[in-house]
C-alpha cells in the first residue's frame, strides 16, 4: 500500500487535477510553523480542523506533514519549540529532521521531544484526506483503493467532488466504486434509489449501510434495503464456503509443512525425532537472522532464508544424527528419549543465546495483505504463498524419494540395515543424507512458519504433537498420506471451527483421529498384506 502512496506522491507533485486542494505553491514558513505548532497543543476537535486547514494550504509539503502526523512522528523539541519530523523512533535517541526545511537534525533524546498525539479518529481523517488526493493517481488500482477507502466516509461536500470525479473516471471498476461511495452517502441521507446501486454489492461497508437502513425508521427504505440484503446474503454464502475451504487448505498446508520433514525422519527412517519441532524453530530463527543481517530488505532476506534455513536445520540435523542417533541404531524407542533431551537443550540454547522473547520477523510487502477475488472473498497472500511453498516442498521431496537412489537406499537401510550394507549400500552416508534432508525440510517449514506465527523458543513445541499426528494419521512411511492427512485435518478443523468454536473443534478433530484409527489401524494409506506384518 505505502509503495502506492509513495509513487502517488511523486506523480501528484506534477499532476493535480482535483481542484485547488493542493497547489505547487509554498505557503509562508511562518504560517506553516504556526499551524503545526497549533496542532501540538490542540485538542481532538481542534486538531481535525487544523488538519483540514493544513491540507488546504496547498503546500506541497503538506502531505509529508500529514503522513508524519498520522504515523505519530510529528514532534516538537521541548526547549526550542521547533517542529520536527521523527525519522527513526526506536530506542532512546531519535533521529529527527526539521519539518519545514527537511534538514536532518541528527539524534535527540526522546526525553527532550514531545510528539504530537494522534489517535484512530484523526488517523481516519488523514486517511480520508489522502484518499481524496489519491483518486487522481494514474494507476487505476491506486484509484480503486482510494475510492474503496472512502466508502462510508463521504460527506456532502466530498460527495459533490466525487460526482465530478465520477464523470471523468474511465476505469469501470473505479467508477463502480465511486458510485458505491456516493450511494452509501445518499442512502444515509434516506435516498431509496441508492439502494439499487448498492444491491448486489458484496462490499462490507455497503452492506453495513444497507443494514443500518434496514433497521432504520423509514419503513419503505427499510423494506427495500432488506430485500437488497437478502440477495446479497445468498452470494455471501457461496463466498463463505469458498473461504472456509481456503482456510482449510491453508491450515492444512501448514500442517503438511510441519509434518513432512518428520515423514522422512520418522516415517521413513524410523527415528522418533522429538527435536523435530526445534529444527523447525531453527529455520524460523534463520529467517529472523537473515532479516537482521539485511535490514530494510525483508523480502530478499526471506528468499535467501529458504536455502539458509534448509542448510542450518540440515546441518543441525546431521550433527544430531552423528552425535547421538547413530548410536541408537535398531533402538528406535530410545531415539525418543535422546531427541527429547536434545529438544530441551535446543530450546534452552535459544533462550540463553538469543532471548526467551519472541523475535520479530517482518512480512515483506509482497506477502502482506490479500488478493481480492471479489469484495467478499479475499485470499490472504502470506497463506497463499505458504500453500504454494508447501506443495513445492512436497513435490521436491517426492522427487528425491522416488527418483533418486537415496529414496531406495534409505528404505532398504531402515528395513534391514545389515542386509543393505551387505548389498554395498553405505548406510552411514544414507543416514546422514536422509536425516539431513528431513531436518532441512523442517527448516524450510520454519521459514514458512515465521510468516504466520511467533518466532520464539516455544515454536517447535507447538507443532511437534500435530506433526506426529499428521504423519501417523496419513500412514507411517507414506508421503502422500502425510499430504492428504495434513490437508484434510486442516480442512475438517476449519469446517468445524465456526460451528463448534476453536477449542471444541480441536477436541473433535482429535476424537475423530482416535475413531478413524479404529477403522484404519494403519493410517489413511496403510501398508497392506504380508509384507507389512513382518
Amino acid at each position: 500500500m505505502s509503495i502506492y502512496r509513495l509513487l502517488a506522491r511523486i506523480v501528484l507533485a506534477a499532476c493535480l487535477a482535483l481542484g485547488p486542494m493542493l497547489a505547487t505553491a509554498q505557503v509562508q514558513d511562518d504560517t506553516a510553523r504556526d499551524l503545526l505548532k497549533q496542532l501540538v497543543e490542540a485538542n481532538q476537535a481542534e486538531k481535525l480542523g487544523l488538519l483540514k486547514e493544513i491540507s488546504e494550504t496547498g503546500d506541497e509539503r503538506a502531505r509529508g506533514w500529514l503522513e508524519a502526523f498520522r504515523g505519530g512522528k510529528l514532534a516538537v523539541v521541548e526547549d526550542t519549540g521547533n517542529v520536527v519530523i521523527v525519522l527513526n523512533n526506536r530506542g532512546r535517541d531519535w533521529e529527527i529532521a526539521d519539518a519545514l526545511s527537511g534538514d536532518n537534525l541528527g539524534e535527540m533524546s526522546r526525553r527532550d521531544l514531545e510528539t504530537v498525539r494522534v489517535n484512530n479518529a484523526m488517523r481516519a481523517q488523514v486517511d480520508g484526506i489522502l484518499s481524496v488526493i489519491d483518486l487522481t493517481v494514474t494507476d487505476p488500482q491506486g484509484r480503486l483503493d482510494a475510492a474503496r477507502n472512502l466508502l462510508g466516509d463521504v460527506d456532502a461536500t466530498l460527495a459533490e467532488q466525487l460526482e465530478a470525479r465520477l464523470a471523468e473516471e474511465e476505469n469501470a471498476d473505479v467508477r463502480a466504486m465511486l458510485a458505491n461511495a456516493i450511494a452509501i452517502h445518499r442512502l444515509e441521507q434516506g435516498d431509496a434509489e441508492a439502494i439499487d446501486v448498492l444491491s448486489g454489492s458484496l462490499n462490507p461497508t455497503a452492506r453495513a449501510a444497507l443494514n443500518t437502513a434496514a433497521n432504520g425508521d423509514d419503513p419503505a427504505l427499510a423494506a427495500a434495503a432488506s430485500k437488497a440484503l437478502a440477495s446479497i446474503e445468498q452470494k455471501l454464502k457461496i463466498n463463505h464456503a469458498a473461504e472456509t475451504l481456503y482456510f482449510g487448505l491453508s491450515l492444512g498446508s501448514v500442517l503438511v509443512l510441519a509434518a513432512i520433514g518428520l515423514a522422512i525422519t520418522f516415517g521413513v527412517m524410523g527415528v522418533i525425532n522429538m527435536a523435530h519441532g526445534e529444527l523447525i524453530m531453527l529455520g524460523a530463527y534463520t529467517t529472523w537472522g537473515m532479516q537482521q543481517m539485511l535490514p530494510g530488505q525483508p523480502g530478499l532476506a526471506l528468499v535467501l532464508s529458504i536455502p539458509a534455513g534448509f542448510l542450518v536445520a540440515a546441518l543441525a540435523g546431521i550433527a544430531i544424527e552423528r552425535s547421538v542417533i547413530q548410536f541408537l541404531k535398531g533402538r528406535p524407542l530410545e531415539t525418543l528419549l535422546a531427541t527429547f533431551g536434545i529438544s530441551l537443550i535446543l530450546q534452552q540454547l535459544v533462550r540463553t543465546v538469543i532471548s526467551p522473547l519472541n523475535r520479530t520477523v517482518v512480512t515483506p510487502e509482497w506477502m502482506s495483505g490479500s488478493i481480492m477475488i471479489n469484495e467478499a472473498l479475499s485470499l490472504t497472500l502470506n497463506r497463499l504463498y505458504v500453500i504454494g511453498f508447501a506443495l513445492v516442498v512436497f513435490a521436491g521431496l517426492m522427487l528425491i524419494m522416488r527418483r533418486t537412489r537415496l529414496g531406495l537406499e534409505v528404505r532398504a537401510v531402515t528395513q534391514n540395515r545389515a542386509m543393505a550394507r551387505s548389498m554395498g549400500i553405505k548406510a552411514t552416508r544414507v543416514d546422514i543424507l536422509t536425516f539431513g534432508l528431513g531436518s532441512g525440510v523442517a527448516g524450510l517449514a520454519g521459514v514458512a512458519l515465521s510468516q504466520i506465527t511467533n518466532v520464539g523458543p516455544n515454536l517447535g513445541q507447538n507443532y511437534i504433537i500435530d506433526s506426529f499426528m499428521v504423519v501417523v494419521f496419513g500412514g507411517v512411511g507414506n508421503l502422500w498420506g502425510t499430504l492428504v492427512a495434513g490437508l484434510s485435518l486442516g480442512t475438517i478443523n476449519q469446517i468445524l471451527e465456526p460451528w463448534a468454536g476453536a477449542v471444541l473443534a480441536k477436541i473433535m478433530v482429535l476424537v475423530l483421529i482416535i475413531l478413524f484409527i479404529q477403522k484404519r489401524p494403519k493410517g489413511l494409506f496403510p501398508q497392506k498384506g504380508r509384507a507389512a506384518e513382518n
Binding site: L408, E409, R411, A418, S422, I425, N534
Partner: protein, 232 residues
C-alpha cells in the same frame, strides 16, 4: 580366493567358532556342512562383516584382509551374499530389491541384468509386488537373484535351496556350476542336503561345535564322516 585362518568368534561370553580354518579355492564350490547350531551361519556372517571375529584372519583374493574392510566395501570387492532366512526387504518391490545391488556394479549399469530374470522368471512376473508378499520360495529366489545382480566374484550361499521347489533347486545348482565354469566364480555354500552338496560342490568342510573337523574333496566325504559329524 578365500582363506580363513584361526578364526575365533564369541556371542557375548559364549565361544561359537574355535580356531577355525577354511580354505575356499578360486573357481570352485566349497560346501560347509554341519548340524544345526554349530556355527555355519556365524561363519558366513563373519565373512560378510555382520559379526566381528575376535581373532583370526580372513584373506580374500590373495591380498585383501577382509576383517579390516567395512561391510559395504566387501560387496564392492565382489562378495555376494545370500543369507539364511532370505532377508529380503519386505516393503520394497521385487524390482527395488534387485536394484539395491546396482550401486556396486563395476560397469555402473542401471539395469538389472537379464540373466537374473531368465534364471527366475517368477521375479519378472512379480516385479511390482512387494518382496514381503512373496511366497517363501519366491523370496528365496529373490534373495539369490539379488546377490547375482552385483555380479560377484565370490558368492556366499547360506542354505540356498531352502523352501524352493525341486526343479528350481536343481536349476540353481546348474547355474552355480555354470557360473563357476564360465565366469570363474567362486562359491561358498552352506548346505545340509547331501545329494545337492555331492552333486554341485567340489570341496567340503565340516564344522562341529564351532570347530572345523573335516575338509577335503567332495568325493572324500565318506559315510563315516557323515555319521560322525552330521547325525545327532
Amino acid at each position: 580366493m578365500l582363506k580363513i585362518e584361526q578364526l575365533n568368534h564369541y556371542y557375548g561370553e559364549s565361544h561359537t567358532l574355535w580356531d577355525l580354518d577354511v580354505d575356499v579355492p578360486q573357481g570352485q564350490c566349497t560346501c560347509v556342512m554341519g548340524r544345526n547350531g554349530v556355527g555355519k551361519t556365524t561363519l558366513m556372517k563373519c565373512i560378510m562383516g555382520e559379526e566381528t571375529a575376535k581373532s583370526g584372519r580372513i584373506e580374500y583374493a590373495g591380498d585383501v584382509e577382509l576383517t579390516r574392510k567395512k561391510i559395504e566395501d566387501r560387496s564392492r570387492l565382489g562378495v555376494g551374499y545370500v543369507p539364511q532366512g532370505r532377508q529380503i526387504f519386505p516393503l520394497l518391490t521385487v524390482e527395488e530389491n534387485l536394484r539395491t545391488g546396482l550401486a556396486v556394479r563395476k560397469d555402473g549399469s542401471k539395469k538389472i541384468p537379464e540373466r537374473v530374470y531368465e534364471l527366475f522368471p517368477v521375479l519378472k512376473e512379480m516385479k511390482h509386488r512387494r518382496g514381503g508378499d512373496l511366497s517363501g520360495g519366491q523370496q528365496q529366489q529373490l534373495a539369490i537373484g539379488r546377490a547375482l545382480v552385483i555380479e560377484p566374484r565370490l558368492l556366499i550361499l547360506d542354505e540356498p535351496g531352502e523352501g524352493i521347489q525341486p526343479n528350481i533347486v536343481a536349476q540353481i545348482g546348474e547355474v552355480i556350476r555354470k557360473l563357476i565354469e564360465e565366469d570363474g566364480l567362486t562359491v561358498l555354500l552352506v548346505e545340509q542336503k547331501l545329494p545337492f552338496a555331492r552333486k554341485y560342490a567340489d570341496r567340503f568342510a565340516i564344522i562341529d561345535r564351532g570347530r572345523r573337523v573335516a575338509e577335503g574333496e567332495i568325493a572324500e566325504l565318506s559315510d563315516e564322516l557323515i555319521k560322525k559329524h552330521l547325525t545327532v
